[in-house]
């Protein structure tokens, strides 16, 4: 058969099982859009390419499958870069298909030409500049295979306009790109790891996003229960282990609970699973779990020893390792260690706000969680509100928290919520945002209104860049600068202007009941929630300090 490069792209994406493409058209990708018009794939017209990128992330983060975003050359691409970098740091599989000026114009500073290839090298798992339409037959399936296999990540496919228009003849379609089976862990190593675990007196499991990527939650629970090992998770690992489980100690690190960081200080074995010893989690790395041996298991060999040397490591599927551990460790109640953990938790209880203080974010989040199910999806932006979600929302299932862990990108929440709602039409989605962050992708309220999705946006409004202000309060002797807004937008009026129903919680007579009611309804809405600007996220480990040096709480 003979079809154009543009048509080939869309046919290959259809065969790949893609349901949605989020993007914005422009001069250099119009041939692809011309074919997309008649495709079974539904196009979601974002209002900014960063929004499109984050929508595809919302799909990928909730399903684990690679999702697609599109942008035109030049500014379309530069707008997309933040979302790609974000996917890269959190190992999220997305395939970004970008238009490029025709090959004959590349390098001439043509209209809307940027070096997409060069720009995307440091923020992708891999990137392609497609040289001919025939190459699409290998590149497109390969892009999906790469994005989903091993440690997932973003892939950019840059397609010059002449390649989109070029006719290509071929016999049959190639196989679609699928996720390769994960490499198994070495048997002998697993035996040794089990022996290490059995020999340890005070083990702690340090679980990260890798557990979620590997779908290994059930075996993690089985393992921790059978051998009575306390579990801490990273921000990316929230949901990998159920909140409320007696062995669960919550998130570790910069904004972890005091007891959690103290218990880790006493560990003699750290079982590090699908984690990368990020500085927000481990603090000053040479001081982290100083008295513990480290057993590190990860799919990515280059993470072993990158930040901290381990005593023993296994490169392979953490799901395979966890199944082996859960099957092979002897049941144990670890009476001494369990008692020590309990007493540290009693000695340093989590400091909770007064329950009567309804407008404290921790209380608002409690009410929110009570109105939703375990399967509801929470997205966040970046700031204090994000940390309150991480601390205060009882995540019980994997892939229910979507948050920008590695890049910490303000503007992440709303478009991710839209993507999550598109991919999960039967689930409720709540975006917990801040008054600073929401402005960074607020244009996507138009997309939300257009598709009338089940997304509720809660704006925790302290009229501040709260987390910045908190750092100025704690580490810069209260020299506040550039962290308070002199002008505060009327978010209710703005949301209504976009066609999204909106409310101000402070104006309601019974805010608790009203919030519960809204969260139970279908369709989108925006809820502005004024909160006290002096609230702090505590305890907090000062940047570059050891976790034991945490302040407050």
């Amino acid at each position: 058969m003979e079809i154009s490069g543009a048509e080939l792209v869309i046919r290959l994406l259809e065969r790949q099982g893609i349901e949605f493409i989020c993007g914005i058209p422009g001069g250099s990708n119009l041939p692809i859009y011309d074919v997309l018009r008649d495709s079974s794939i539904k196009h979601i017209l974002a209002r900014h390419e960063q929004g499109a990128g984050f929508m595809s992330q919302g799909m990928a983060r909730t399903t684990g499958k690679a999702a697609v975003c599109m942008a035109t050359s030049g500014p379309g691409v530069t707008n997309l870069l933040t979302a790609i970098a974000d996917a890269s740091l959190d190992s999220i599989p997305i395939v970004a298909i970008t238009g490029q000026v025709s090959a004959s114009l590349i390098g001439t500073d043509a209209f809307q030409e940027v070096d997409t290839y060069g720009l995307s090298i440091p923020i992708t798992k891999h990137n392609f500049l497609v040289q001919s339409a025939k190459d699409l037959l290998t590149v497109i399936p390969e892009a999906f295979r790469l994005a989903e296999s091993g440690r997932p990540g973003p892939v950019v496919v840059d397609i010059p306009k002449n390649v989109q228009k070029e006719m290509v003849e071929f016999e049959s379609y190639p196989e679609i790109g699928i996720k390769q089976p994960l490499p198994m862990c070495n048997e002998k190593y697993l035996e040794k790891a089990v022996a290490m675990i059995s020999g340890a007196r005070r083990p702690v499991i340090y679980a990260g996003g890798g557990i979620i990527a590997a779908g290994a939650t059930d075996d993690l629970i089985r393992f921790a229960h059978k051998n009575s090992i306390p579990v801490v998770t990273t921000l990316m690992g929230l949901g990998a282990y159920p909140h409320g489980d007696p062995h669960y100690l919550g998130m570790l690190g910069m904004h972890g609970e005091r007891a959690t960081n103290m218990i880790m200080e006493e560990a003699d074995l750290l079982i590090a699973l699908g984690v990368r010893f990020d500085d927000r989690a481990v603090g000053k790395s040479c001081e982290f779990c100083k008295h513990a041996d480290i057993l590190h298991i990860d799919i990515d060999r280059s993470e072993i020893g990158k930040i901290k040397p381990s005593n023993f490591s296994i490169v392979g599927d953490v799901g395979h390792a966890l199944k082996a551990f859960a099957d092979r460790v002897e049941p144990s109640i670890r009476i001494g260690w369990s008692a020590r953990v309990s007493s540290l938790r009693m000695l340093h209880p989590e400091i909770l706000p007064d329950k009567e203080d309804f407008f404290h974010p921790m209380n608002l989040l409690r009410v929110t969680s009570e109105s939703l199910s375990e399967q509801s999806i929470i997205t966040t932006d970046v700031g204090q509100h994000q940390m309150w979600v991480a601390k205060g929302y009882p995540f019980k299932k994997p892939r229910t928290l979507l948050t920008s862990g590695g890049l910490g990108t303000m503007g992440f929440g709303l478009p991710n919520a839209i993507g999550a709602a598109l991919a999960n039409p039967d689930r409720r989605v709540v975006c917990v945002s801040g008054d600073g962050s929401i402005l960074m992708n607020i244009q996507e309220l138009a997309t939300l209104a257009e598709h009338h999705l089940n997304v509720k946006v809660l704006i925790m409004n302290n009229n501040r860049l709260g987390l910045v202000r908190q750092q100025q309060a704690m580490f810069f002797e209260e020299r506040y600068f550039a962290s308070t807004f002199d002008s505060s937008p009327d978010f209710v009026a703005i949301a209504k202007g976009f066609g999204v129903p909106a409310f101000d919680l402070s104006e309601e007579e019974n805010p608790s009941l009203f919030l519960r009611k809204l969260l139970g309804q279908d369709g989108p809405c925006v809820i502005n929630i004024p909160i006290d600007f002096d609230n702090k996220v505590l305890p907090m480990v000062p940047p570059e300090c050891a976790n034991r040096e945490m302040i407050g709480g």
Partner: protein, 88 residues
């Protein structure tokens, strides 16, 4: 001065050099010398790199191994490139 050599076999295409040097700049690894040329039928290239400091060598090699365009990575003790570099 002692130089540590890394011998790479890579896919040969226009962007491959940026992939390799991009890794070094992004990760703040110091690249001392580089020599490169096509081998075989021309669809592969050989690159010989030298780095002056071995403290990050292990991590450099592991990161290089992850690159899609890198087919093979070998560490070499006495890189012939050291002599070439000395004559520059």
């Amino acid at each position: 001065m002692h130089n540590y050599g890394i011998d790479l076999l890579v896919r040969n295409h226009a962007g491959v050099m940026s992939q390799i040097t991009g890794l070094f700049s992004r990760r703040n690894f110091n690249l001392e010398g580089i020599i490169c040329g096509p081998v075989g039928k021309g669809d592969e290239s050989r690159m010989i790199l030298t780095v002056a400091d071995d403290s990050k060598l292990e991590q450099i090699v592991l990161q290089l191994e992850k690159l899609y365009d890198v087919i093979e990575v070998k560490r070499v003790e006495d890189s012939p490139l050291t002599e070439v570099l000395a004559q520059l």
